[in-house]
C-alpha cells in the first residue's frame, strides 16, 4: 500500500520528462553535433570546437497519455479528480520519459593531409535519462483499494522504471571514402553516477470471492519485485549529511560505475541527389559497481484470516510475521549490468534545386555545387524495458543562404501525431549556432503538450580557406 502510494507520487513528481528521438539534429550536417546521432554523417571541417558548456544543450520530455496541464492546470478542478482522470486515461504501456544532455566540451579535426577526408572528433557530455511505464494497476490500487475490484488481479509487472545520471566521454572517427560513401564509428566510455533500475518485476495481488471456500475472500499476493540501485544507497541512510546533487555530480564524473559502448553509421549517395543514411547509437553497457544495493520482495502469500485455535492455546500466529516470512525483504549487494537504450536511425533524402556557390569567382575552375532543397523521411527506434518504441519523420530542409539552413520535420510517434519541429543552423564567420525546437504547434500552450524537445548550441568551425 505504502509502496503503491509512493509510486503514484513519483509518477507525478517525474512528470516533466521526455523522449530521445533527435529527429531535427539527425543528418542536419550543418551542425557538427549531428555526428553524435550518426557518426557516419557527411560533416566536414578543418577543425571545430564547441563553446564550452554551450555547444550542446538538449532537454526532451514526454508523456504519452497526459500532459502537465491535465494534472496541474489552475482551473478549479479538484486535483484528485485530475489524478484519477490521468490514471483512467492511461494504459500500462503509456510512458513518461525524460532525457537531458549537456555537452561540456567537444571538438574535432581532420587528420591526414589537406586532401584527406578523415576526421577525429571527441567530447564529454553529461546525460540524464528517466523512463517509466505508467504503473496503472498499482495506481488504481492506491486510488481505490481492492474493494471494488473483487475477482481482478493487479499486475505487479506494471511497475517498470529506470533512471540514470551519467557522463560519456567519446572519441569518434569518420571517413569520406569517396564522393558516394561516408562511414564512421564512435567509442564511448560511460561513467554512471547514479542508477536505479526496476524493470524486471512480476507478480500479482488478487482478491476473489468463491462460494464453498472456508474464507470470505481468496487473497493472494505473489511478488517478484526487485529494485537495483547504484550510487544511491548512501543518500538513503539516516546518517548521510552531504549535498546529494553535488555528490551525484562528483560521482558522475570522477567516481562512477564504468561502462563501454559504441556508435556506428554511414551515409551513402545512391545518386548525386539521393542519399541514404543509417546509424546505431549507444550499443553499450555499464557495469554497476559503486555503492550498489538491490532490494527484493520475493514470495507468495495467501491471506486466510484468523483461525481461532479451539484445540490448544499456544501463542497464535501473527499476520505480519507470516507475511514477512512469506515475502521477505532482502537486501543484496551484487554488481549488475545495465544496457544503454540502443537507438537506431535511418533516413532517405532527395535533394533538388541545384545551385552554385555565390562566393567570389572561383579561379581554379572547381565548381562548388550544392542543392538548395531536400526532402525525405527518417525512422527512429529505441529499445525500452518492453517493446521498442519508434517514430516516423518526414522532413524538408532548405538552404536559405549558403551557410544558413532550415529544417522542418513532421513526426508521428506514440507521444503525438502532429509533432512539427523547426531547426535553424547557421555559420557567421567561424561561429556556428543552432536552435532546434519540436512540437511547435503546442507552443501556443506548452503545458498542454505531451512532449517537448529543445536543443541549442554554439560551435567554432574552421574550414580551409579557399585557394
Amino acid at each position: 500500500m505504502r509502496t503503491a502510494y509512493l509510486v503514484l507520487f513519483v509518477t507525478i513528481l517525474h512528470f516533466s520528462c521526455f523522449a530521445q528521438n533527435r529527429e531535427l539534429l539527425y543528418n542536419f550536417t550543418a551542425i557538427p553535433q549531428s555526428s553524435l546521432v550518426n557518426p557516419g554523417a557527411d560533416v566536414s571541417y578543418k577543425f571545430y570546437f564547441g563553446f564550452p558548456v554551450l555547444s550542446g544543450i538538449s532537454v526532451n520530455a514526454g508523456s504519452s497519455s497526459f500532459s502537465a496541464y491535465d494534472l496541474f492546470a489552475d482551473n478549479g478542478v479538484d486535483f484528485n479528480d485530475k489524478v484519477r482522470n490521468a490514471i483512467n486515461t492511461s494504459s500500462r504501456n503509456d510512458k513518461v520519459v525524460a532525457n537531458q544532455q549537456l555537452e561540456l566540451f567537444s571538438g574535432g579535426f581532420r587528420i591526414g593531409g589537406r586532401e584527406s577526408r578523415s576526421y577525429i572528433s571527441f567530447g564529454l557530455y553529461q546525460e540524464f535519462d528517466f523512463f517509466m511505464y505508467v504503473p496503472k494497476d498499482m495506481a488504481l490500487l492506491a486510488l481505490d483499494g481492492n474493494k471494488n475490484y473483487i475477482g481482478r488481479s493487479f499486475d505487479l509487472s506494471d511497475l517498470s522504471v529506470k533512471a540514470e545520471v551519467l557522463s560519456v566521454f567519446h572519441v569518434g572517427f569518420h571517413k569520406k571514402v569517396n564522393d558516394k560513401f561516408v562511414y564512421g564509428g564512435r567509442a564511448k566510455i560511460y561513467s554512471s553516477g547514479a542508477n536505479a533500475t526496476s524493470t524486471k518485476n512480476s507478480g500479482y495481488i488478487y482478491t476473489g470471492q468463491n462460494a464453498g471456500t472456508p474464507n470470505l475472500y481468496t487473497q493472494i499476493i505473489s511478488s517478484d519485485l526487485e529494485l537495483k540501485t547504484s550510487g544511491i544507497s548512501t543518500f538513503t541512510k539516516d546518517e548521510y549529511e552531504g549535498n546529494i546533487a553535488k555528490d551525484i555530480s562528483h560521482n558522475t564524473f570522477f567516481n562512477g560505475s564504468l561502462g563501454l559502448g559504441f556508435d556506428a553509421g554511414f551515409t551513402y549517395y545512391i545518386k548525386d541527389n539521393l542519399q541514404l543514411t543509417a546509424s546505431i547509437i549507444d550499443v553499450g553497457f555499464i557495469k554497476q559497481s559503486k555503492d550498489i544495493e538491490t532490494l527484493t520482495y520475493k514470495g507468495t502469500y495467501q491471506y486466510e484470516g484468523v483461525n481461532p485455535d479451539f484445540m490448544n492455546s499456544d501463542d497464535p500466529e501473527n499476520v505480519f510475521d507470516e507475511f514477512d516470512k512469506a515475502i521477505p525483504r532482502d537486501t543484496l549487494y551484487n554488481k549488475y549490468t545495465t544496457w544503454r537504450p540502443v537507438k537506431f536511425y535511418s533516413s532517405i533524402q532527395y535533394s533538388f534545386g541545384e545551385a552554385r556557390s555565390d562566393d567570389e569567382c572561383n579561379c581554379l575552375g572547381k565548381v562548388d555545387k550544392y542543392y538548395k532543397n531536400a526532402v525525405g523521411v527518417q525512422v527512429f527506434a529505441m529499445t525500452t524495458p518492453r517493446a521498442p518504441i519508434g517514430a516516423f519523420t518526414a522532413f524538408y530542409r532548405r538552404n536559405i543562404f549558403r551557410k544558413l539552413d532550415l529544417k522542418a520535420t513532421y513526426t508521428f510517434d506514440s507521444f503525438s501525431n502532429k509533432n512539427i519541429g523547426l531547426g535553424l543552423a547557421g555559420t557567421l564567420g567561424k561561429v556556428n549556432m543552432y536552435l532546434l525546437v519540436n512540437n511547435i504547434l503546442e507552443f501556443k500552450d506548452v503545458t498542454k503538450a505531451n512532449s517537448a524537445a529543445f536543443q541549442f548550441g554554439i560551435n567554432f568551425i574552421f574550414q580551409d580557406p579557399k585557394d
Partner: protein, 182 residues
C-alpha cells in the same frame, strides 16, 4: 550578409520565445492529494464439525484465540478512518448456537464483544449474513487496540450430539478498511 544572418537568428529566437505561452500551472495542488482507497480482507474463519462438539454436559463451550496484529503497522493505524466487519455463519447442525466474537488487547482484556445468535438447522438452507458492524470514532479507537481475536461458541439446549450427528458450524468473516491519506 552577416547582418541578415544575425537578424534571421534573432527573429527565430524571438518567435520561439515570444510565441510560446503556457497556461498557469499550480503545483501546490499536490498538497490537496487525498487518497481514499477501501481495502477488503479476510478477518476470521472456522469450521467445526458436529462430532467435535460431543460432550456430556448440557452446555458445551468452545473457545479459541487467534493473533491479529495488523494495527501494529503505524501507517495503517494512522490512516484508517473507518472499518466495517461482516460475518456470515452457516449452521448445518440440528442445534442452535450463540457465537461471540471478542476483540482483545495486549493484556487479554476484552475491548468489544460482538454476539451472534445462530438458529438450529432444520433441513433448509441456514446461512445467515449478519448486519455489518461499523467501527468509527471511539469504537474505531478500541478496534485499533486489538491484538488478538477470541471466539466463543456456546451450544444452545437440545438433544445431545453423538458420533452420528451430522453437519458443521462455519464462520466466514471479512473486514473493509477505509483509508484516508492526505
Amino acid at each position: 550578409m552577416d547582418l541578415i544572418y544575425s537578424r534571421i537568428f534573432k527573429i527565430f529566437f524571438l518567435v520561439f520565445f515570444l510565441s510560446s505561452c503556457s497556461s498557469d500551472l499550480d503545483f501546490d495542488q499536490t498538497k490537496n492529494l487525498k487518497l481514499e482507497p477501501a481495502f477488503v480482507a479476510n478477518l476470521a474463519y472456522f469450521d467445526v464439525k458436529a462430532n467435535d462438539l460431543i460432550v456430556d454436559d448440557e452446555i458445551q463451550v468452545l473457545a479459541g484465540v487467534g493473533g491479529f496484529d495488523v494495527f501494529k503497522d503505524k501507517f495503517f493505524n494512522d490512516h484508517l478512518r473507518k472499518a466495517e466487519l461482516d460475518f456470515e455463519i452457516e449452521n448445518t447442525i440440528a442445534r442452535a448456537f450463540a457465537v461471540r466474537f471478542l476483540l482483545l488487547n495486549a493484556n487479554d482484556e476484552v475491548l468489544q464483544t460482538i454476539s451472534f445468535a445462530v438458529p438450529a438447522y432444520n433441513g433448509t438452507s441456514n446461512i445467515i449474513k449478519y448486519p455489518t458492524e461499523v467501527f468509527e470514532n471511539q469504537r474505531l479507537e478500541l478496534l485499533k487496540q486489538t491484538v488478538k481475536i477470541g471466539t466463543v461458541v456456546v451450544m444452545g439446549s437440545g438433544q445431545p450430539l453423538d458420533q452420528n450427528s451430522s453437519g458443521s458450524l462455519k464462520l466466514r468473516s471479512g473486514a473493509t478498511a477505509y483509508i484516508v491519506i492526505e
